[in-house]
Every structure is written in C-alpha cells, then in structure tokens.
Subunit: 367 residues, 2 copies
C-alpha cells in the first residue's frame, strides 16, 4: 500500500461558526488506495484529538506506522485494494493544516491567540472543500473514533447526503462534564505555566524542553484513556529503582508511564494547538442547533454504526447507546447499529483492540 | 455534643518501618462523648488523606462542622451519648501532628525533605501510643474511609486484639496503579513547580498565593473523587460567563468547580505534607509482609465490615469484595460483611451519602 500525502491550499474564505472568517487555509492529508472512475469508493477517516493525517502505512526510516495501520491497508478491515481512503489533518492541529502558529495573512505574523475558535462543524466544512476539489461528491463511508467520531457524526447530521455509511467509535453526541474536567487540567496546566507567556512562548525552547504544565495535563489525559483494570494489569504495583527526590517520593512503573507520555507530549504537539483542539472537543454538542438529540439525528440519512467499549470512562457506552435509542425512537432503528465491545482497555480501545473491532467495521462497510 | 481537643507530646522514639526514628512527636486529636469507667466504649475514627482530627461538631465562629458530622454525634450512627469517639490527626499531616514543617530536634530547623517517609503502619503505631496513654487498651471499634480505611485495616491486621469491630469504607487492601496515577499529577505538579524550590518554598507566599502545580494535582484528585454520572448531574454542560483568556478558551461550570477546589487547596494544606501523605497512600499494601491477602487477613480477629460504593472509581468495590472473599476462603466469612451501596457519587460517597451509610455503620457497631 502506497501513501500519498499533500497539502492543499484554499483561498476562498471559510465562515466559521464563531462569526469569524479564515480568509485562507491549508489542509494536510494522506490517501491510500485508488479512487475509482466514478469516484464512489472514498472512505473518509477522521483522526482524534492529537492525531494526524498519517493514519496508515509507514514512511521510510520511520519506526512507527500510521495511527490506524491495523485497520487500514490492503486486505484489512478498511481495504485499500477496494477503497480510496483519505484522512485530513483537522484545522487547528499542528500537523500540517492551518493552526495557531500559522501566519495570519493580514498581519504577516503567527496567529497565536488571535487564531479563531473552531468547532467540529468548521473542521468538517473545511474538509468538504477538499473533497469537492478532489471531485468526491459522495463518500462511501466516514469512519472515526473519539474526536474523529464527533467529526463523523457531524458529517452525518450536517451533510446527510455526503456519506452512505457513518461509523463512530468511542465517541459521544456531546462532551460531558467528566471529559471537560480532564481537559481542564491541560488547559490550566498550559495557561498557568510561566513559560507559556500568554501564548508567546519560545517554540524552540518548548520543542526542546517541553512545557511542565502541559505535560501534567497530558498525564491526566492518559489516565482518562485507560481504565482502572487495564492499569492494574499493565503496571500493578511494580516499583522502579530511582534516585534523588523521586527516591524519597517513590516511583512506580505507572509513574514512569505517566512521565514518559506526559513529558514527551509538549515536544511533539504545540501548546496553542492543543488549547484549540481541546476547546473544540469541550464545545462539541451536536444537538446545539436542534434542541434535542432526536431532532439532530432526524437530519441524518446514512446507516449509522456505533461502536462503544465497555471500559471506556471518557465516553462511556451509554452515550452511544443513547444515540442508537434515539434513532429507534424516531423510527430509524433499521439504519442504526449499536455494538458494545467488551474491553477493559478503556478509551484507547478504539486504537489498540484491532482484532475486536475489525470485523464490525468490515461488516458496517460491506452492508 | 462537646468537642475536646488537645495535642499530646511523645518523647519515646518511634521506630519507623523505613528504619528511621522519630525521636519525639506530637499528635493532635479530638474527642467526643465520654469514656466509660472500664474504658471499653472508645471508637477510633480514622481520617482520610487531607482530613484532620476535626471529625465532628462545630467550633464557635466556624461555618462548617467536622468532616463526618453527619455520622458522629448525639443520637447519630456513631452515637456520642454511648461511645467515646476519638480522631487523631495522622503523623505527617499538617493539622497539628508532627509533619515535615515541624522542627527537627537535632537541627532545630524544619525537617522539610529530611522528614522520614511514613507508612500507614507507622501512623497507626503512633496512635496506639496515644490510646495507651489515655488508658484505652481495647477499642470498641475502629472506623475509617479511604486512607482512614487503610488505617482501620492496619489496626485489624497489626493489632488484632485492639478492636472488636473494624469498619472500612471506600478503601482497599493495596493502592493500585489507577490511584497512583492520579497521585502522580499531584507529585509532579508540586515537585516541578518553580515556587516549590526543592522543598524550601516560602510558606507565607504559598499560603497567600497557592502553588499552581499542586492546584493542578488537586484538580485531578477531584476528578477521581467523583464519577462521570455525578459530574454530569452536578454540572451538565452549563457554561459560565467569563473574560480574558478564559473567554477564548471557554469556561464551564465544572471548570469553575475544579478551579475552586484546586486553587484553594494549597492555601489550606502544606505541599510537603501532601507529598508525604500521598506517598503513604501509594505505598500502602497490607499484604507486603505476609505474602498474600489471605495470610494478611488470617492475622485479624475483629468483625470486619466492608462498605463499598458502586460508583467509586478510585477504590472500586471489587477491591473490598476481594477482602470479603478472602475471609470466606480462610473460613472467616462469619465475621466479615461486605456491602456495596448503590451510589453514583463516586469515591466521595463515604463523606456525603450519610443517609445511605448510617444504618450500616450502626448495625456494624451494634452487632
């Protein structure tokens, strides 16, 4: 399977839900497989909070493959010998698309905190521009987990004629207080960090040394991605030899995991970009313009598949079950499927429990 | 009900599990009710991580009563007309007992990071000194929740002849990776805060302005104390009007709750003391000297009552159920009771769901 990647520039202004306008923007994306002649075999894959367009395949010299390489590829659940798969880096994210560190055309300086607030609907609308340019009027399917599932749901509600099948994993119709609370640690951590300097931090310094507050926030995130039982199985009470202050304070295997994931994160993800994507997640509520979940889902036309994971504490299964039940209530149960996969892997299950999800995704695409 | 409070000084050295020695120490405590003539009606109540000896009653001029005032008092579940209730501030905590900011006798300076590491067994052994001084050879019961439950369990295992009844709520036989992970945010937050200065922070400054990293850690703690469903019921997606950077980033009701609880915490609890009590919790494993839970529980003689809460994600019910099942396995099921109270209040349930727990506590004491 070959990876095609590109950055597409758009200079028609994008009117955002906030009322502000992005006068121009870039979208970075990757494609796998071949678009057929009548352009009917495109599957849009939407990435999660800190994901990128690099969903599958492996670049020469890289150690790691794309974030959903177990699912996307020749002969895999999302079969690149049959489908043309496209994954777009969301606006606001720092992996190639326009984000707070991009140059603002009117000032010729980085946007930083002048970057407009984005909501999932904006991000989805920007992607539609790209599909339009590529001549893709209809997608065979849209698939996404977590924040990617929120995008998929948005496609289903706001562009009901775009995709025939929408598959959502480990996601919700609205971000609830529990998830907002976890995000709060990240927001506070970043904003209160003396090195954040009101958003005018030194990029090189942060790339080299990290940002302590952001690392703390990410550690909290990594708690929410797992579950008590996985953590127990993974780490138990294993102790790690250490020195200095940590010797006094103690250091467990799970502490090392938190340090590793927390401390490396600011080196690979920009703090401002993180604030904007977290805000995007916090703000997500697909019912906001429609009064109720029933009314929001009434707008959809696609076949909807909800894949939840029993151990997910960030977006617990009941949130997806509510959507399935709402569809039944409005007489649309025939085009809704709810699957709860038994996994104590927590929220991360949609990224790691490949063997448990591949058949359900295949089935959702084949039907 | 009257409150009696005192600080008792001990100048016989306390040999700690770490091998270090506290050459002298203070214990602050409160008592309610009257000790009967043969000193057989004492109930020891053990406080949680950031609790104090002030378990019940209200001081003149105070707005708030003690932390378990709903349970302890005249005619209440722990009835102070019948029992003599005593609650001791644990060693290491900054509410009156010897802690890292106490003066080290040999140097005449504050201990700070020279303070010895304490484990629950040390804390329990120190309390035994106090009971001995008060002439209490046997307690009618020991009761405690969370870290207080760990102490109660230690009393049961290490001083099997001390109490006839031991009641534990929302606790565990060993702190698992999930809880250690939450504590990690606090430890990292404190240690990495530039104002922590390697433990030599300015006390007045922190009491006045707080400590950002510690506030972040406490926010994470407040997530672990609740549950997704309580948070949803309590806060929903309610939005709070705000200004400045928070206007851009958004501020929900739950954010305000986190800010309030996080930011106030360093003003009332000392950072070093917090590091030591968190370490104490992380280190807790009542099986550590005995090879297995069965063998640890084989040492107990008291009637043991385990009260778990269905929504507790910090110390989930299965941890207490394991203890109950271990007791059955070793043929001691007749003196063990396990109750799982349906509550989505999360870990905090043992402090707030008074109506749901009072009858069980009463029953455990009456039997």
């Amino acid at each position: 399977m070959e990876i095609y990647n590109a950055v597409e520039h758009f200079d028609e202004p994008l009117h955002l839900e906030s009322g502000r306008i992005l006068s121009e923007f870039d979208l970075a994306y990757e494609c796998y497989g071949k678009l057929n002649e009548n352009k009917s075999n495109a599957i849009v894959v939407c990435h999660a909070l800190t994901g990128s367009a690099h969903a599958a395949g492996i670049y020469e010299g890289d150690r790691k493959a794309g974030w959903w390489d177990g699912i996307i590829g020749d002969g895999k659940a999302i079969d690149t010998t049959k489908y043309f798969v496209i994954c777009v880096n969301i606006l606001g994210s720092s992996f190639g698309s326009t984000n707070p560190l991009s140059i603002e055309p009117s000032t010729k300086k980085e946007y930083r905190l002048r970057f407009p607030v984005l909501v999932i609907s904006d991000v989805v609308r920007a992607q539609m521009r790209l599909f339009d340019r590529l001549g893709i009027k209809e997608a065979y399917a849209v698939v996404g987990g977590s924040l990617g599932g929120m995008q998929a749901l948005c496609f289903a509600i706001e562009f009901p004629n775009f995709a025939k099948r929408v598959v959502m994993l480990a996601t919700t119709y609205a971000t609830k207080a529990w998830a907002i609370a976890f995000n709060k640690i990240a927001i506070e951590g970043i904003v209160k960090d003396p090195n954040f300097k009101g958003g005018y931090y030194d990029k090189d310094d942060i790339a080299a040394n990290g940002l302590t507050g952001m690392a703390l926030g990410r550690m909290a995130g990594h708690i929410s991605f797992l579950s008590p039982s996985t953590m127990d199985k993974k780490f138990g009470r294993k102790y790690v030899e250490t020195d200095g202050l940590y010797e006094l304070l103690g250091r467990f295997e799970v502490d090392r995991y938190m340090e590793y994931n927390g401390n490396n994160f600011p080196k690979r993800f920009d703090p401002l970009s993180y604030l904007y994507v977290v805000k995007m997640m916090n703000n997500f509520d697909c019912t906001r313009h429609y009064g109720s979940l029933n009314e929001a889902l009434m707008l959809t036309k696609a076949r909807l598949t909800f894949i939840a994971f029993s151990g997910d504490i960030l977006f617990p299964p009941n949130l997806m079950l509510e959507m399935h039940e709402a569809l039944i209530q409005i007489g649309q149960g025939h085009r809704s499927e709810y699957i709860c996969i038994d996994s104590d892997y927590g929220h991360d299950a949609f990224l790691v429990e490949i063997e448990k999800i591949e058949d359900y995704i295949k089935k959702a695409l084949d039907e």
